[in-house]
Amino acid sequence: MPDPLLLDAAALSRALTRIAHEIVERNVSGADVVLVGVQTGGVHLAHRLAKTLGELWNQPVPTGALDVNMHRDDLGNHLAPTVHPTQIPGDITGKTVVLVDDVLFSGRTTRAALDALNDFGRPRRVQLAVLIDRGHRELPIKADFVGKNVTTRANERVNVKLKEADGEDGVWLVKNGNGSLA
C-alpha cells in the first residue's frame, strides 16, 4: 500500500500562501522581518515564503539558513550529523525572526535553533512557521503558523518532499518508521 498523502503539490502551495498571509497579518510592516530556514528542510520553504511575502509587502525579505547540529542535545549518541552552512542575513538584533521548518515534532530542533540564533544577536521577537505539526512535543514549544496539523504515531515518519531538493512537492505519512526525528 502506498504511503498516505497528507498534502499534494497544490495543497502544499496553498498552505504556504496561507502561512505567508498570516505572517503579514501578524507583522504589519515587513521592514523588520527576517526569515530563517532551519537546515535542511526549512531552507527551501523559507525562500518560497520570502517570494510570496516580498510580493505582499512590496519589498524583498531578507532570508537565511540556520544549521542547528552543533546545538543539538543528543550529540554523541549518534554518528555526528552533517553540518550544513549557516547564513544569517545582516544583524538580527531588534528584528522579528520567523524561523521556518518543515516538520514540528519533539520541539528539540526548534530549541536548538533558538539557541543557535542567540549566537547571532538578540531578535526583538522570534516566531515559528512550520509546514506540518505532527504533535508529540517533548518541550514547551508551539508554532505561530502551521500549514497542517497531523495526528501521528510516534513510530511514523512525515516525509516532506520539495521540488528544489527532491524534484516533486508533497507530504507523505510513512508507517512503521524507526521513530527517529523527522
Binding site: H71, G76, N77, L79, A80, P81, T82, T86, D119
Partner: protein, 315 residues
C-alpha cells in the same frame, strides 16, 4: 555522513570520502570562527586531554582552542610536569587520565604508533597530534583544506613538498592525503633527506629544485628538523638555504599563481627567504586559521563516532 570512526590515528587508513567529510565539516566550523560568538555547545560536558609528551606550542594551542570553542573542558598535560618524568609508563598515564573520565585524548609523542597503542585499550577517543616521524594527520587535513579553498579542488594539482622529508610526519600525512585526493606529488630536498623509497608510494622524487617547482601549483616547504636528526644530513644551514631554500631567484621561476605553504615554525632565511614568507602568495597564516577549523571538525566528528564504537566499528 560518511564518518563513523572513533579515533583519528593517521591519514593512511582514511578513504578519500572520509577526508572530504572532514574538509566539508571544517568549512562550517571555519564560518563559526568568523562569528561574533565563536563558541558552539557541540562538546559541552566532554573532557578533552592534551597529552603532549613531546613539546609543541602551536598544535597544542590549536587543539586547546578548538576544544574550548566546542565548549569542552580541556586539560593540558606536558611531559615535563608529569609523572612520565618519574618513570610512569605511557599506558599508566593514559589509564589514569581515563579514570578521570577523559572523553578524548589528544596525544603527541616522539614514538611512532603511540596513538595507535593508546587506542587499543582506552575506552575514549584518541587523536594523533603527531607521532614521531610517522604521521601528523590534522596538519595534512588543514593543508589540503587550504589548497582546496584556494583552488576549489585537489585532483590533478601538482604539489611539491620541499625539504626534510625523511624525518617529517607532516610530509607522510600530506603525501597520503594528496595522493588519495588525486594530486600529483613531487618530493625534493637533499638526497640524504629524500630517499627514493618514497617513489613506491606514488610520488615523484627529484633532487633538482628548479625542476620540482617549475610547474607546481602548490609548494609546501618543510622545516629542517634539527632536533630529529641524529647526524648531519647536509653540510650546513647556509648550504641548504643556497641549494634548496626558496630564494627570490627561484620564486621568480615559479608559476605566478603557485601557493606557498609552510607548516611552521619557519626558519626564516633557511627554507624560505624571509619576505617571501609574508608575500601575497604565502598562505602560511591561513594554514593556522584553517588548522583551528579542522581540529574543531575532527573533535566534532569523532565525538559522534561513539555510535561506531558500540557496533564494533572502525578505527
Amino acid at each position: 555522513m560518511i564518518w563513523n570512526r572513533k579515533h583519528l590515528l593517521d591519514i593512511e587508513s582514511l578513504s578519500a570520502d572520509e577526508i572530504i567529510a572532514v574538509l566539508d565539516t571544517a568549512r562550517q566550523f571555519k564560518a563559526v570562527g568568523e562569528r561574533a560568538i565563536k563558541k558552539v555547545p557541540a562538546l559541552r560536558g566532554k573532557t578533552v586531554v592534551n597529552l603532549f609528551v613531546e613539546p609543541s606550542t602551536r598544535t597544542r594551542i590549536s587543539f586547546e582552542l578548538a576544544a574550548i570553542r566546542l565548549s569542552a573542558d580541556v586539560i593540558n598535560f606536558g611531559a615535563e610536569a608529569s609523572s612520565l618524568k618519574k618513570g610512569e609508563t605511557l599506558k599508566d598515564t593514559a589509564r589514569n587520565l581515563e579514570a578521570l573520565n577523559a572523553d578524548i585524548i589528544i596525544i603527541r609523542h616522539s614514538a611512532t604508533g603511540a596513538p595507535h597503542f593508546l587506542s587499543r585499550f582506552l575506552k575514549g577517543s584518541v587523536v594523533n597530534a603527531g607521532d614521531g616521524a610517522h604521521e601528523h594527520p590534522t596538519q595534512a587535513l588543514l593543508d589540503t583544506f587550504t589548497i582546496r579553498e584556494h583552488r576549489g579542488k585537489i585532483a590533478g594539482l601538482n604539489v611539491t613538498i620541499l625539504g626534510d622529508i625523511l624525518y617529517s610526519r607532516v610530509a607522510r600525512s600530506n603525501i597520503w592525503a594528496l595522493l588519495k585526493l588525486g594530486a600529483n606529488v613531487t618530493l625534493c630536498g637533499p638526497s640524504t633527506l629524500v630517499p627514493r623509497v618514497f617513489e613506491q608510494m606514488g610520488c615523484r622524487v627529484t633532487y633538482n629544485v628548479d625542476e620540482a617547482i617549475a610547474d607546481a601549483d602548490v609548494i609546501n616547504l618543510l622545516r629542517i628538523q634539527h632536533e630529529r636528526q641524529r647526524q648531519t644530513m647536509f653540510p650546513s644551514i647556509g648550504e641548504y638555504a643556497a641549494l634548496f631554500g626558496l630564494t627570490h631567484a627561484r620564486f621568480a621561476r615559479t608559476r605566478p599563481d603557485a601557493l606557498i605553504m609552510h607548516p611552521g615554525p619557519i626558519n626564516r632565511g633557511v627554507e624560505i627567504a624571509s619576505d617571501l614568507a609574508d608575500c601575497g602568495r604565502s598562505v602560511i597564516l591561513e594554514q593556522v586559521t584553517n588548522g583551528l577549523a579542522i581540529r574543531m571538525a575532527v573533535l566534532y566528528l569523532i565525538n559522534g563516532g561513539k555510535g561506531a564504537q558500540e557496533l564494533g566499528g572502525l578505527g
